[in-house]
C-alpha cells in the first residue's frame, strides 16, 4: 500500500509543534480517514472533532495545507502526496488541543441575535401559506452546517480579531435567513449596523469561496443586508418618506 506523511499540529494553548506521522493511504480516502488511522494506530490521544463523515454536520473543520476545509470532504487524491500534508486547527479561534478549537464564541453570538418572530398564522390550524419561490433563497441560507470555516477565513476576525464588534459571515447568513423569511416580523437592521458590524465587511468574498455548502454568502446574504441597512439609515428620501408616513 502507498504511504503518505501527515504533518499534524499537536499541542494546546501553552505548547505546540508539528508532528509528522507516516501512514498507509488507499483509494478514496479523505484526510479525516488518515487522521483517524493515525489516531487509532499511533496517537490515541489525538484530538479531532467529527460526526457525520459526509459533510453534513460541520464538525471537522480545520486547515489542510493552509486551506480551511472539512476534513471529511477533502480527498487525498486532490492533494500532492509526495510532500507532507499539513493539518492544523482553525486559526481564528482559541486552541483547545490539537485540531480542536474553542468555537463557543459563535454560539454566544447567535444567542444574542433577535430570534425568529412569526406573524400570526394564516390559517385556523396554525399554519402559514408560503410559495416555494419565496423560500428558495432562504433555503439556501438554511443549508448552513455551522462549520465556521467562513468565520475562520474572514480577515476581520482572523487578522483584526474584532470578535466583539463583528459577528462574521456565518451570522450574516443567519440574519439574512431571518430578515428575508416570509413570515418573520422582526427588524434587525439597527443591530446589524451597530453591534454586528456589517460595515467592517469589505466584500472580499473569501467566505463565499470556502463555504462547503456553496452558499453565496457575500452576494446573496451580506450585500442585500448592507443595502437594507443603507436604505433604512442613510437614504434621505426613504427616511423622509418614513417620517411622513409614521
Amino acid at each position: 500500500m502507498e504511504k503518505a506523511t501527515f504533518r499534524i499540529w499537536r499541542g494546546d494553548a501553552n505548547e505546540a509543534q508539528y508532528v509528522d506521522y507516516e501512514t498507509e493511504v488507499s483509494e478514496g480516502m479523505v484526510v479525516l480517514d488518515a487522521v483517524h488511522r493515525i489516531q487509532a494506530e499511533q496517537a490515541n490521544d489525538l484530538a479531532v472533532r467529527w460526526n457525520c463523515k459526509a459533510g453534513k454536520c460541520g464538525s471537522c473543520s480545520a486547515e489542510v495545507n493552509g486551506n480551511p476545509k472539512l476534513l471529511c470532504m477533502t480527498r487525498l487524491n486532490d492533494l500532492p502526496l509526495d510532500q507532507p500534508v499539513t493539518v492544523e486547527p482553525m486559526r481564528a479561534f482559541p486552541i483547545i488541543k490539537d485540531l480542536v478549537t474553542d468555537v463557543s464564541w459563535n454560539f454566544k453570538v447567535k444567542e444574542k441575535m433577535k430570534p425568529f418572530t412569526p406573524r400570526p398564522p394564516d390559517e385556523e390550524d396554525g399554519t402559514w401559506r408560503m410559495e416555494q419561490e419565496d423560500i428558495d433563497h432562504i433555503q439556501e441560507f438554511r443549508k448552513c452546517i455551522e462549520c465556521f470555516l467562513c468565520q475562520d477565513v474572514c480577515h476581520v476576525l482572523r487578522e483584526h480579531d474584532l470578535h466583539d464588534e463583528f459577528i462574521g459571515p456565518r451570522f450574516f447568513v443567519y440574519a439574512a435567513s431571518l430578515e428575508m423569511h416570509p413570515i418573520d416580523t422582526e427588524n434587525r437592521l439597527e443591530e446589524l449596523k451597530n453591534q454586528d458590524g456589517i460595515g467592517y465587511c469589505n466584500i472580499t468574498k473569501c467566505c463565499t469561496k470556502v463555504c462547503p455548502e456553496h452558499i453565496t454568502i457575500t452576494d446573496n446574504a451580506i450585500i442585500p443586508l448592507k443595502e437594507r441597512v443603507v436604505d433604512q439609515f442613510y437614504d434621505p428620501i426613504k427616511r423622509l418618506f418614513r417620517v411622513f408616513s409614521s
Binding site: 479523505v30 484530538a47 472533532r49 460526526n51 459526509a54 459533510g55 454536520c57 408560503m130 423560500i135
Partner: protein, 605 residues
C-alpha cells in the same frame, strides 16, 4: 477525594438531538431549571444527518391520509410487535409537532397551494414525509436549536455522562466529564430524560457516527431499567459501498421515493421477484405502475423498491450471495434512468436530492444524474431500546425517562423511514412534559457521595492500567468485526453463542485497556470509556437475538426461518440486569389488540 463541580437542575436531559432538544423545550416551558448535556457541539447530533423526511399525516398531498392510516402503516411495518398506544399517539400528534416547527422558523418544501409538501417513502401508503430536499434533519435540529437557545436552558456541550446516580430507587442525577479538560461534573436532578440515540458503532459497517455507542441504553440498564426487543437492529438497504473509506454512509431512501430503481449485475429489477404476502395488494405489478406511483398517480401502487427496509436489505444480500452483485459487493441504485421519463431529469435530480448528488460527486467521483450508484446494507437504527410507558415515557425506574432512538416501543420489528424524526418530536415533547411534572411533584433527592467516588475511580482506571494493556481502538474494532460477522443480517444459534463468548473475552480485555496522555480532550481515553456501553448493548442484542427463535422484521435466523415460533404467540424480549449482576432475558406477551385498534387495521390495511 476526586474533585468535581456540581450542577443542580430540576430536569436533566442527556442528549441534544431532536428528542433531547424537544424534551428540553417542553420541560423549560413551566419555568423549571433544565439542563441539557451532549457529547458533541450543539446542533451536531445524529438528527442533523437525517435526510428523507419526517412522517406526519398532514394530508396536504393526498387527502385520503389520516392518523388512522399512519397508525395502520406503522403497525404493519413493525410486524404487529409495536406498542399500539405509542403508535396511536405518534400518528395523532405528529402533524401538530411538525407544524409547530414552522412556528419556530423551519421551512419545509411547499406544495403548489403553499402548504408543507410531502413525499413517498417505504411502507407509507400515501405521500407523508414532510421534507426539505434531502436535508430534513438539518432543518429540524436547527429549528429546535435556534428556538431552544432562547428558552433559558443550561446547555453543557461536549460533556459525556458515564453513569446515572440513584438514591434509593429513584434516579437523582448523573456523573459526567467534560471533554475539554477532562474534569468531572456532577448533575443533580429530580428527573432525568435519556435521549442519547442509537448503537450503530457496535458494527463495522454503519451510517452512524462515533457518538452512537449505546450510552443511554447502557446507562438505563445499569440503573435497573428494562431494554425491550434489542434484537431488532435496522440494516438500511442502501449504504455506500465504494470507495472503502465511505462504506456505510447512508444513501437516502428518498432516492427510491423519487423513482430510483434497484438492479443487479444482469440488469434485472430483482425487487419484483419477491414480494411478501403482507404487501402483495399494495405493490405495483409493473415498472410502469411503480413509476406512476412515484410521480403522484393516486391509482398506482408503490414499486417494490419501496417495500420495508428489512425486506429490501435481505433481497440485496441475496443478489450479492448468489453472484449477481455489483463490482464492489453491492447492487445498483439508478436514478439517472428517469431521463427516459422526464425532460429535465438532470436538473430535477439535483434539486430533489442535492446532498446525495454532492456526496457521490465529492466522495466517489460519481455523477448520479448520469450513472448508477453502488449500494449495500448498512447498520442504521435500533428499534429496540429502553422500555417506557407509552404516555409518559417513564421507565420502571422512578424519575428516569427516555425518548427518541434510545427508547423503544413504537417501531416493533422494523421502523418505517421518516417515523424516527416524528418519534423524536412526539415523544420528546411527552418526555419533557412528564419529566417536568415528576420534578414538580417530587422533592429534592440527596446525592450519594460514596457512589460518586467509586465512579470517579473507574473512570480514571484506563490511565492507571499497565502500559501493555490493549489499545482501546483495537478492542473497539474487534468488537465491531465480531458483531458484523456474527450478529448481522443473518444470525443463527451458533453465531450468536459464539458472539456472546467473544463479547466476554473482549470485556476482560476492555477492563485493562490503557489510555496514554492526560485528561485533556483525549480521544483514546474517551474511546476506552465508551467500551463498556458498546459491550453492554452488544451483549443485549446478541442475547435477545438468541432468545427470538424466529425470523421477523429486521431479525433473521438461518436456523428459524419461520415468522413465529410454534405455539409461542407474539412476544417482546426483555433484557434486565439480574440480582447477581448478570444480564437476564425474558419474554413478555404482546397484549391483544383492542377491538378499536383491530378495526382500524382491518379497515386501513
Amino acid at each position: 477525594m476526586a474533585s468535581y463541580e456540581t450542577f443542580e437542575h430540576d430536569v436533566l436531559i442527556i442528549g441534544a438531538g431532536g428528542a433531547g432538544l424537544r424534551a428540553a423545550i417542553e420541560a423549560a416551558a413551566d419555568g423549571l431549571k433544565v439542563g441539557l448535556v451532549c457529547k458533541s457541539l450543539l446542533g451536531k447530533a445524529h438528527t442533523v444527518m437525517a435526510e428523507g423526511g419526517v412522517a406526519a399525516a398532514l394530508a396536504n398531498v393526498d387527502e385520503r391520509d389520516s392518523w388512522r392510516v399512519h397508525f395502520a402503516d406503522t403497525m404493519r411495518g413493525g410486524q404487529y410487535l409495536s406498542n399500539a398506544r405509542m403508535a396511536e399517539l405518534h400518528a395523532k400528534e405528529s402533524p401538530d409537532r411538525v407544524r409547530e416547527l414552522e412556528a419556530w422558523g423551519a421551512l419545509f418544501d411547499r406544495t403548489k397551494e403553499g402548504s408543507i409538501l410531502q413525499r413517498n417513502f417505504g411502507g407509507h401508503q400515501y405521500p407523508r414525509l414532510a421534507h426539505v430536499g434531502d436535508r430534513t434533519g438539518l432543518e429540524m435540529i436547527r429549528a429546535l436549536q435556534d428556538h431552544g437557545i432562547h428558552q433559558g436552558i443550561d446547555v453543557h456541550m461536549e460533556n459525556t455522562i458515564v453513569s446515572l446516580l440513584k438514591t434509593g430507587d429513584r434516579v437523582s442525577g448523573a456523573f459526567g466529564y467534560e471533554r475539554e479538560k477532562g474534569r468531572f461534573k456532577i448533575f443533580s436532578a429530580k428527573a432525568v430524560v435519556l435521549a442519547t440515540g442509537g448503537v450503530g458503532k457496535a458494527y463495522k459497517i454503519t451510517s452512524n457516527s462515533w457518538e452512537y455507542t449505546g450510552d443511554g441504553h447502557s446507562l438505563a440498564y445499569h440503573a435497573g431499567a428494562e431494554l425491550i426487543d434489542m434484537e431488532f437492529v435496522q440494516f438500511h438497504p442502501t449504504g455506500m459501498v465504494w470507495p472503502p473509506s465511505v462504506r456505510g454512509i447512508l444513501v437516502t431512501e428518498g432516492v427510491r421515493g423519487e423513482g430510483g430503481i434497484l438492479t443487479n449485475s444482469e440488469g434485472n429489477r430483482f425487487m419484483f421477484d419477491d414480494i411478501p404476502e403482507l404487501y402483495v395488494n399494495q405493490t405495483a405489478d409493473s415498472p410502469e405502475e411503480g413509476w406512476n406511483y412515484t410521480q403522484g398517480d393516486r391509482e398506482a401502487r408503490r414499486p417494490p423498491e419501496l417495500l420495508t427496509r428489512d425486506h429490501v436489505a435481505r433481497c440485496i444480500v441475496r443478489e450479492v450471495h448468489e453472484g449477481r452483485g455489483s463490482p464492489h459487493g453491492g447492487v445498483f441504485l439508478d436514478i439517472a434512468w428517469i431521463k427516459e421519463k422526464i425532460p429535465n431529469a438532470q436538473e430535477h435530480i439535483r434539486r430533489k436530492l442535492p446532498s446525495m448528488y454532492h456526496q457521490f460527486k465529492e466522495l466517489a467521483d460519481i455523477d448520479i444524474t448520469q450513472e448508477p450508484m453502488e449500494v449495500g446494507p448498512t447498520t442504521h437504527y435500533i428499534m429496540g431500546g429502553i422500555k417506557v410507558d407509552a404516555d409518559t415515557q417513564m421507565t420502571c425506574v422512578p424519575g428516569l425517562f427516555a425518548a427518541g432512538e434510545c427508547a423503544a416501543g413504537l417501531h416493533g420489528a422494523n421502523r418505517l423511514g421518516g417515523n424516527s424524526l416524528s418519534d423524536l418530536l412526539v415523544f420528546g415533547k411527552r418526555a419533557g412534559e412528564y419529566a417536568a411534572q415528576f420534578a414538580a411533584d417530587n422533592g429534592e433527592v440527596a446525592l450519594d457521595d460514596s457512589a460518586i467516588e467509586e465512579i470517579a475511580q473507574q473512570v480514571l482506571q484506563p490511565f492507571d492500567n499497565p502500559e501493555d494493556g490493549d489499545n482501546p481502538y483495537e478492542i473497539q474494532a474487534q468488537l465491531q468485526d465480531k458483531m458484523q460477522e456474527l450478529v448481522g443480517i443473518a444470525r443463527s444459534q451458533e453465531s450468536l453463542m459464539q458472539a456472546l463468548e467473544e463479547i466476554q473475552t473482549l470485556r476482560e480485555k476492555a477492563d485493562s485497556v490503557h489510555a496514554i496522555g492526560n485528561r485533556e480532550y483525549n480521544a483514546g481515553w474517551h474511546t476506552a470509556l465508551d467500551l463498556d456501553c458498546l459491550l453492554t448493548v452488544s451483549e443485549s442484542i446478541a442475547l435477545a437475538a438468541l432468545e427470538r427463535k424466529a425470523s421477523i422484521g429486521a431479525h433473521s435466523r438461518d436456523d428459524f426461518p419461520e415468522k413465529e415460533e410454534q405455539g409461542a404467540g407474539k412476544y417482546n424480549t426483555i433484557v434486565q440486569k439480574s440480582q447477581d449482576n448478570t444480564m437476564g432475558i425474558r419474554r413478555e406477551p404482546v397484549p391483544e389488540l383492542t377491538e378499536e385498534y383491530q378495526e382500524i387495521i382491518d379497515e386501513m390495511g
